[in-house]
């Protein structure tokens, strides 16, 4: 948490998504689904494969009509 907070310091987060693996076929994860941050954080312990975090950052916040 601390590292990411420091990494994003001064940036505006416009969008964030978390994804986790859902289905495995022949040893490969073939389906992923959107997840909560908590699910993604626990994915390695529960599924054996890490979750994925996707962020859109900007150096300027969106105006209300852009949201």
């Amino acid at each position: 948490m601390e590292r990411l907070q420091r990494l994003f310091e001064g940036w505006f987060v416009l969008d964030v998504e978390f994804w986790i693996a859902e289905r495995k076929l022949l040893g490969r994860w073939v389906k992923w689904r959107p997840a909560t941050m908590q699910e993604a954080a626990r994915a390695y312990e529960t599924l054996g494969v890490q979750g994925v975090a996707c962020f859109v950052l900007s150096n300027r916040p969106l105006e209300w009509w852009q949201r």
Binding site: L4, F12, D15, W29, Q38, A43, Y44, V52
Partner: protein, 184 residues
Amino acid sequence: MEKAPLVPDSPLEVRLREIARRVLRLCGGRSNWDVEYDFAYRNITGKRLRILDIGWCDSLLPLAFAKAGHIVTVYDLRPYPERHRNLTVIQGDFLENQLPPCSFDAVVMVSTIEHIGLGGYGAPERADADFEIMRQLRRILVDGGRVILTFPFNERERELFLNLRGGTRWNGCKGYLKGGSFWM
């Protein structure tokens, strides 16, 4: 730790992987690459944007952006084998970049930042190099520019090495969204 050679996947390997990604998607499945690929696509909105792609020379994403009419620069320690009139390739360490200020509308870093500074791909080890990257991005982005950032996510921060190809930093941030606000 043995240093990995600075050789990207061959264009054939990259294309086979791209075909597999598309076939999987046609069948209703998705790979983690597909998730990240798609996220980058969805969040690059606009025409003829100046896009900087850092560290993903093993993919066709920069080429796809170039074909879509954007002006793309690929910055990677390894050579990017693809060619297109809208594509410029800079091989080197991004931390040593000489890019002019405010020169890009968007930066794409797909599964890259977790490797930065850990000595993978022949790059020197530099503590907190990921923070330096973010400072550099602030310099080269125009006002209102975007950074598309994807990375593996875990509860705890830890380091591990993957197939000797590079280090990866799992940035865990449990509770980061606490209170529903990013900026508490």
